[in-house]
Symmetry: C2
Subunit: 315 residues, 2 copies
Amino acid sequence: MVRVHFWGTPEWSQQLADSLSDIAECRFGEEVDPNTEVLAKGRPAEEEFATLHALKAVVIPFAGIPVQTRELLASRPHIKLYNLHHNSADTAEMAVALYMAVAKQIVVRDRNLRTGMWSEGSFMRSGSGGSIRAAGKRALVLGYGAIGRRIAKACDGMDMKVTAIRRNGPFDDRIRPLEELDQLLPQTDALFVALPLTTETEGLMDGRRIALLPETAIVSNIARGAIFDESALYDALRSNRIGGAGIDVWWNYPKADEPCFPSNFPYHELDNVVMTPHVGGASDATEDDRWRALADLIRGIEDGSAKPASAELGY
Amino acid sequence: MVRVHFWGTPEWSQQLADSLSDIAECRFGEEVDPNTEVLAKGRPAEEEFATLHALKAVVIPFAGIPVQTRELLASRPHIKLYNLHHNSADTAEMAVALYMAVAKQIVVRDRNLRTGMWSEGSFMRSGSGGSIRAAGKRALVLGYGAIGRRIAKACDGMDMKVTAIRRNGPFDDRIRPLEELDQLLPQTDALFVALPLTTETEGLMDGRRIALLPETAIVSNIARGAIFDESALYDALRSNRIGGAGIDVWWNYPKADEPCFPSNFPYHELDNVVMTPHVGGASDATEDDRWRALADLIRGIEDGSAKPASAELGY
C-alpha cells in the first residue's frame, strides 16, 4: 500500500480515499505523516523534504507547476514530479471566451447598452464593424500541451487558420518549433498563450516580440502574467499598437483578500482589455474532476504508466 | 443585361457593378429605375411594387427577412425572394461569444477587477467555481441554417454534445424536428437560438417552454428578440430559474439614435445577462463579403442556380 497525503474538501477527500482503498493508504489534513510516499501539494516547502524520507513523488494538483517547486525538485531527482490536467478544458475555454469578448467588444457594448446607448465607445478602428470576425483569421497557439490543444480545436471549430508552437517535436505544417516564433508573430491575428512559466518562458513576450504583432492582433493569456513584459504589453495596448487583449493571469495578486489592481500599470483603464481574476481553471466540473484525475494519476504512479511532468517540459 | 438596383457604400457599389459588368446594368442610390428587375433592399415599401413592373427578384441584403417583406412578397409569387448569408460566421461567433461571456461571468468579473476586486459578485450558484464548463455540456441549436450550422461546429470544437433542431429533414441522431423541442429543452445546458422570425417562430420560446429548461441553462439569442416572450424570459432570469442569457437581439430599438433600453423590462439590471446592441452581423469582414455575396447571388439568379429563400423556410 502506497502512503499518500493530500488536501481537499472533506467530500472529495473521502471519495478519493475510497476509490484508492485497494492500493493506497490515504491521509489528508494538516499533519503530514513522515512516511508519506506521494505528496499532492502545489507548493511544498524545502523543510518538508528533510522530514519526508520515503517521499518518491510530488503531485501538483493543477497544471501550472510553480517555478520554486520545479527548482526544489530539480535538485532531488529521486522524487518524481507530476501535475494534473483535469481542468484543461476550463482554461482553454477561458482563453476562447476572452478572445471572443475582445473581438466582439462584449464588455464595452454591454456596459453601454445598460445605459441605453446602442452605438457608443468602440475601441476599434473604423471599418471594423465594431467586431473582428474569427473565421478565416490566423490563430497562433503558443504552447501545445493539454490546454493549447483544446484551444486549437476550438479555433478549428470557428474556422480559424491555426498554427501552434511547442518546444519539442514532432512538428508538421501546423505545429512549429519555438524557434519560429518571431517569424510567425507578424502573421498572427489571435495569439493564445498557453505556456508553462519557466525561467525560459518568463518575459518571452517582451517588447520586441509584442511589436512584431499586427496592429489588429488580439492577445489572450490564460497561462502566467510573467510570460509578458508587463510594461511593454500595457504600452502596446494603450497606444493601440495591437488591437486588444483578454487577460486572466497577472503580475500582481491580492494578499489576504485585500483589493488590489492586477498590475502596476493601469490596465483597468483600457477599453481594449478584458480582464478576469485568474479564474480560468475553475468551473462547476473541476472539483469533481480533480479527485478523479488525482486517483487516476496515483494509480498510474503505482503501476508505472503515469508520465512525469518533464523537467525539460514538453509543451 | 439584367437591370439591378441596390444601396451600398460608393466603394463597394462600384466594385459590385464592375464585377457584374458582363451580365448586369447596376444602378445605386435613391432613384430606382422603373425598369429594375432585381432590387436589393431589406424593406421595400408596398408602393414600390406598383411602379416596378419588370421586377422579378428582391434580394434582402442580410439573413433575417423582415416579416413585413415576407408578407408583401407572399402575395406576389412572380417576384422571387432571396437573402444573403455573407455574415453567418459573424452572427454564429456572436452567439458563441455571448454564451461564453455568460458561462465565464466575463462582464461581472471584468467590472469587479477594474476596481481591484478579485472575488466579488458571482451570479452563479455556489459550487460552480464561478464558471460553467462548456465541454461535456449539452448544446441545443434551435434553427439549423447557415448560422446554426456554424454554431454547432463551434460547439463541437469545444467538445459540447450538440443537438440541432430544424423544421424540415433530413433528420438523424443529431438533427431533430421542431416537434421534439419540448422533449429536448429539459436536457439542454446551452440553448442557441438561430431561427428566422416568422409568424410561426414569434413567441415560440414562451413562458411554458422557458420553464422546461434546467435551472443552470444558459440561453444565447442572436436571431430576433420576438422569438422569446419578453416578460417570461425576464422573470426566469431575474428569479434565477435559468442560469443566464446572452442577448444580441431585442424587443425595443432606438428611433433616430435616441438612447433607449432594449426592453420594457429592466434586463439591464441583471448580472446574469450579457447584452449587446444587435451587432452580431457586423465585422471587419462583412462589408467586403456583402458585395461579393451579392455579386454571386445575382449571377445565380441569372443562371438559375440561386436558391430562393423559401416561403416555407427550410431552417
